[in-house]
Symmetry: C2
Subunit: 342 residues, 2 copies
DNA sequence: ACATGATCCGAGAGCGCTCTCGCCCGTGGA
DNA sequence: TCCACGGGCGAGAGCGCTCTCGGATCATGT
């Protein structure tokens, strides 16, 4: 609507500065092959005309887009309840904009979406992709692979065992979980239950493994599967109390579920931490601080994970060899944060 | 990395189908000016070669990008705590992808970011913009205006009074608030407090106005300002109880704050709804359902707002006249959802 | 049979940019 | 003084697409 003012082109700037297009291009792209008096004249012309390069024309020849896709592969509701994604997204966004790259967001819910994403990536509209919250049976990695788009995953993909060239960033889920449970053991707790996350995600599996590392030969009735939502935390806690009334500690695979567990424990009249100690995972603020009592939990720096994912990808795209240093996975450390719940 | 297979061009498809570029272009873009036997041959060639149009080349001539920017103008922490944004984003995403448009996400925190966003929009990289969560003192609308990019706002901008051409989608904040408070009055409550949202957002102001519509000449001590976070809800509730111990109802400007208020009320030994009735706003699931007791609240369809914003913008971009039908604002209705808290 | 449209398709220009190539000019060595 | 050399700059091609325009083809009216 309304006639858009035609934006000045390289040609126009060149004319105004009395030089050739090539020279303007050189100046704009920061080449040092233009001597000072001229370069300055060009810069001034750019300024005066308010010239902004046409990205489409540029991409047409460079085959770079300075854009990366961020794929949020969460089928349903969790994205809404869990601040996790927003936080990771922010980390990614920061790093990306710091390097003048655009963030193209792709939200997927079902298989149809995956096909669409596959087509999109194959279409070569972006230079790379970042995948958040992948589930094990997801066809996405395959699509991405065949699209040939450089990709960094957030969280270890389930097939990363040894498949070549898979790059991911994750936190030390297993080690963090182990620390959490050992802390409970150190508190003298003997019947430690675990509420797992959605076991179609490796983070949940790894945390479960960490739990098992610490509690060798754990009573299987002390482990209940949740799905990272607080509702599932409540459900799991009820089940645990019904099955094993004698439990004296709970390690939940994230803070949201821990908060749910806390509610049920209160409802059932168990004192925390006196009767039952509770530890979460994520240190998701403000949730972890506002539970009653405040949650002892395993901190992971989610925003940093996002930043790192983006940095890794950009480095790959630059050709600044990421192959060597990061192929495989980058694992961030976790810290146990002690509050009142355990 | 690794040599990317050069993608087939229009030219290649044309050669294979034994037609001209122009004809392939016509088929690809769904023109009906190609007769059937030929069109089919082209389609087959496209299929066989796995041809995908080069968006950059296309944009270069059409001056359209089929991309819109979504600007989340939230300075800080709220984006993380409140599922609001994720939900609106999903609505936007759905509508956009349904029309083959890309979603370019721009997260802004401070003034520097705004300048960057302004430059980005002025750069003409996107066809339009969607702005979420605008604050009153924000320079963004000005930047957008001077960039000349068609824009739809989520939530009424503070200057929308009569300024020409401002398009926005909002829910009936004032009416919804009025209904909520009238409901409390209908319950026989006489001292109804209000916890406002961040008053630099029109939604908070409008809800406050709705409250005042219903409680004419309200005791100013019954109104405390919050900022939409649950922590602020707790703080406000404490202040209210200290100042006006006799209150018998609270209307909070969103569910998060209502949940905070609920916690404080329980902590202070007030029964809900017997001693104090509580109403929230948003019907943010699962929060509203999982409070204790479940929250009576004003429902607004956030995802639908997102969808509508996108639809309005796309329509404007198509030239399918949105000027007439939507210039000004589109206000969605709200519904009071009765649960146990009031 | 020929003129007249209408319809379908191809030729070609051009969108705004980058980048190679070669020209020109200035400098230094003989 | 002349030649070789090198670095700064311009000319021009071409990225992959769209779209106008005109030519070819075919049905139709007379």
């Amino acid at each position: 609507m309304t006639e858009t003012v035609p934006r000045p082109t390289l040609e126009a700037v060149a004319a105004r500065a009395g030089v050739s297009r090539a020279t303007v291009s050189r100046v704009v792209n920061g080449s040092d092959a233009v001597r000072e008096p001229l370069a300055e004249r060009v810069r001034q012309a750019v300024e005066e005309l308010g010239y902004v390069p046409n990205q489409a024309a540029r991409s047409l020849v460079t085959k770079r887009h300075d854009a990366v896709a961020v794929i949020v592969a969460e089928p349903e509701t969790r994205v809404f309840a869990d601040p996790f994604f927003a936080r990771q997204l922010r980390g990614i966004s920061k790093e990306l904009t710091a390097h003048d790259n655009q963030l193209v967001l792709l939200l997927t819910e079902d298989r149809d979406d995956h096909a669409r994403v596959g087509r999109y990536l194959a279409g070569g509209h972006v230079d790379g992709a970042l995948v958040i919250s992948l589930h094990v049976d997801d066809p996405l990695p395959g699509l991405i692979r065949s699209a040939g788009v450089p990709t960094v995953f957030g969280g270890r993909p389930d097939f990363s065992g040894g498949r070549d060239g898979v790059v991911y960033v994750d936190c030390d889920n297993r080690g963090g979980a182990r620390d959490a449970v050992r802390h409970l053991i150190g508190l003298g707790r003997g019947r430690i239950a675990h509420i797992t996350g959605a076991l179609d995600q490796t983070s949940a599996v790894d945390r479960l493994d960490g739990y098992r590392d610490a509690v060798v030969g754990a009573d299987p009735r002390l482990v209940v599967e949740g799905d990272f939502t607080s509702a599932s935390g409540e459900r799991a806690m009820r089940e645990l109390l019904d099955r094993s009334p004698g439990l004296d500690a709970v390690f939940a695979a994230n803070d949201l579920m821990a908060a749910g567990a806390l509610r049920v424990l209160r409802e059932r009249g168990r004192r925390v931490p006196d009767d039952v100690a509770v530890v979460g995972f994520d240190d998701m603020l403000p949730i972890a601080e506002q539970t009653e009592p405040p949650l002892t939990t395993v901190r992971q720096d989610i925003e940093e994970m996002g930043r790192l994912m983006a940095r890794l990808l950009l480095r790959t795209l630059d050709g600044t060899g990421a192959e060597d240093q990061a192929a495989g996975g980058l694992i961030l450390p976790t810290t146990l944060i002690r509050r009142a719940s355990a």
